[in-house]
Amino acid sequence: MSDFTPTEMMTIAAARALKASDVCFVGIGAPSAACNLARLTHAEGITLIYESGTIGTEPRVLPLSIGDGELCDTALTTVSVPEMFRYWLQGGRITIGFLGGAQIDRFANLNTTVVGPYDRPKVRLPGGGGAPEIAAQSGEVFITMAMGSRAFVEKLPFITSMGHGEGGDHRARLGLATKGPTRVFTDLCVMEPDPESRELTVVSLHPGVTRDQVQAACMWPLRFSAQPGETPAPTAEELAILRDLHARTKAAHAA
């Protein structure tokens, strides 16, 4: 079963964490692949919501944008964007907010705004979009990001979306009753925040990945749980369904 890519492992690990009863606010890219894979495997009936207003959507191919026609065509209904952010996200209806980002720190705060100073950025990134409030208002947050020394950094130049802030009970002190990031799915491992300090801790390594590899792809000294497990390798069925989804998607987007 070595015939899978790190990105596939990341997506499959994230998909497994979703339940049929979840109501997911889905970002584009790896989150969208993971949520739809879950829907097509063990979590039939899961509710997927995209910030474009589509509620309970069941796309046959992955959308390129969060507002592809496919999402609306297959949705239970589609509401306006103000309503989406007011009644559905702020209203507390989302169980899992699914985010990615350009950069993350040890407390799972995310940056998608700038690298360098805000006023004279070295790299201007797209910005927050829905993420700041997805991070605050979803029941809990899952993050998917490929590891690397530019992405997993000691200190963020800009906090776009709050994870656990400075750690500990920082969220609670700011009045947030939601859990914040509870899992980070990477291409090398799965992390969870420590129950006390909220610092990200490696809880399982993907098959064949070593601690040194993970540490090499992260700029802060990583914590590992006492006995990090090995992430179960993708099953043949998971891989087949994910690849089939990607193939359908590629064909559709090239059209």
Partner: protein, 287 residues
């Protein structure tokens, strides 16, 4: 009551140098033809407003039409950067761009407040983020019942809103459906509005009693521009040209490539050239 005008006349009448302009459409129904017309007419010093600047604003910014941008997500969805937007922010090319940056929730609420004629919107927003440190227009209000402190943002009240919709009837009522985004709010919040449509029909006919409709008396000008959302899409008419969004990355990455593309595909074209994209999705799929 809405006037039926050519797109040239509608833009000339409604969009002036220095205006605050909101062109909306959340992935769906983005008014690309209207954006091209603004570029052709050489409008300058526009203060642009849009949740997701997208290709339409990449083009306006790259052609030097804008002095400012209020936005919440400036990328090419699923593809990567908006290179012209980045070049303006990182290198002030072709001119500096003043940005006022928000989250989607704040922008959506600000449009909603504008439509509701409120001076500000209240949201549970921005908690623990750095955005309030760089945007002085993110403020707070205190609940007079619970004492909670919430985020406040100024309502969006543009001089002109521009949207694309599926249909107008002969009275000038406008119907849209599918992903409706913040378009109704943008039109209701604005002093003037331009709507480009795929079709003008005698009557909307049988429909949901709760159909999404802008009455004629909320719209300034309607222009019949079939295909006018391309490479965005019109639900029930044609699909999103995802391949063009992917291709845009290479076009926009380089200033000269960009300018050449704009010259050939915008400056030398007319609104009627969008009609080629208007082939109904069903027909296109069958061919």
């Amino acid at each position: 009551m809405a006037q039926f005008l050519s797109l040239e006349d509608a833009i000339r009448a409604c969009v002036h140098d220095g205006d605050t302009v909101a062109m909306e459409g959340f992935t769906h129904l983005i008014p690309h033809a209207a954006g091209h017309e603004i570029i052709r007419q050489g409008r300058r010093d526009l203060a642009l407003v849009r949740m997701t600047p997208d290709l339409i604003y990449d083009q306006l910014i790259g052609m030097g039409c804008a002095r400012a941008l209020r936005f919440s997500w400036g990328g090419n969805p699923g593809v990567g950067s908006l290179h012209r937007f980045r070049d303006a922010v990182e290198n002030a090319w072709p001119r500096p761009l003043a940005i006022e940056e928000h989250s989607h929730a704040a922008m959506a609420n600000a449009y909603e407040a504008g439509a509701a004629n409120l001076p500000f919107a209240t949201l549970r927003g921005y908690i623990g983020t750095d955005l309030p440190k760089v945007n002085p227009n993110i403020r707070s209000v205190t609940c007079p019942f619970t004492g909670e402190v919430l985020a406040a943002v100024a309502a969006i009240r543009p001089d002109v809103a521009i949207i694309h919709a599926q249909r107008a009837d002969r009275h000038g009522n406008v119907a849209l459906e599918g992903i409706v985004g913040v378009q109704r709010e943008a039109v209701l919040a604005a002093k003037r509005s331009v709507v480009t449509v795929e079709e003008i029909v005698e009557d909307f006919g049988p429909r949901s009693p709760n159909a999404v409709i802008l009455p004629s008396w909320t719209v300034t000008a309607i222009s019949h521009v079939p295909g006018g959302a391309y490479p965005s899409y019109a639900h029930g008419y044609y699909s999103r040209a995802n391949a063009f969004y992917i291709a845009w990355d290479a076009i926009a990455r380089d200033r000269d490539t960009f300018l050449a593309w704009m010259d050939a595909n915008v400056m030398k074209k007319t609104p009627a050239d969008f009609a080629v994209h208007a082939r109904p999705a069903a027909l296109a799929a069958a061919s």
